[in-house]
Symmetry: C2
Subunit: 146 residues, 2 copies
DNA sequence: TGTGAAATATTGATCGG
DNA sequence: CCGATCAATATTTCACA
């Protein structure tokens, strides 16, 4: 993981479909070398997968909320219960008063309410505190150069 | 945006590198038809870009935190100020007591503290409340089928 | 590890029906 | 939307530094 790898990652984050020749030229390597670098980055798991970034609004998902989930029990083994709710994009165990922080996207606030209902149905969940996002400034991938 | 489009999006989210022939077969279309569908999804902006998913830990970014940023002024025009901090992955204006919610990834808690310092330097910011993630259950793209 | 080059296989991209 | 075509690219391989 040197600076060249980080540069390649940044380029791939911007456009994963570009030719290896272009990648190589941008970082000062030959096509074959760039290819080999990227192959190893995938092999090591640094690059998890190539995916597409989908506009949530185009899917009708206009409501974004972060929900602090309070619990009365250890939540460390509840990953599947949260993953079973498709509207949840992220779930993290957090330090502090709440136990789990989830990121939720729905079409309407009624559907958000329904997600809260399903959260309450998870074993150990004792409360929720939802915060609705009014506007998203930006959402971007982690910066390899920080 | 019918069910076929949503199916294509799900397939592309899982692997954007697969051949159009495979995509077409999976949804019951010819190669050319699948190609055309995806082209239009890009054209419409439903698919923003093809990118790679990078493992944050491989970049040395082992600390994840969500920071509630309180302010004493209107923050609606401060997108660039937040974007100028590379450790910030997301920034949203939120309803509630705080004004902005940001997602931050750093290598160490010291660097997280430094991000907080830079947040305070933004005009109008009057306070921060950071919540550190102890474990990430999952992070996944928005589900086209919800 | 990297370079340059060459070969093949696969795929992206386009067009007529 | 389909089938077929053609150009571009990925992928693999090689000898060599």
């Amino acid at each position: 993981m040197d600076d060249t790898d980080r540069a390649l990652l940044t380029l791939l984050q911007d456009d994963a479909g570009q030719a290896y020749a272009a990648l190589g030229k941008a970082v000062g390597l030959s096509t074959a070398a760039a290819h080999e670098r990227v192959r190893k980055l995938r092999e090591r798991g640094v690059v998890r997968r190539t995916t597409v970034e989908v506009d949530p609004r185009s899917l009708g998902l206009g409501v974004l909320a972060f929900v602090m989930v309070e619990s009365s029990a250890w939540m460390g083994d509840s990953a599947e219960a949260f993953a079973a709710i498709p509207e949840i994009e992220e779930a993290h165990i957090i330090a502090g008063s709440a136990s789990v922080l989830v990121k939720v996207r729905t079409a309407t606030t009624e559907q958000l309410q329904d997600v809260l209902r399903r959260l309450y149905a998870i074993d150990g969940v004792s409360g929720t505190q939802a915060t609705v996002a009014l506007e998203t400034f930006f959402e971007r991938p982690p910066s390899p150069t920080s």
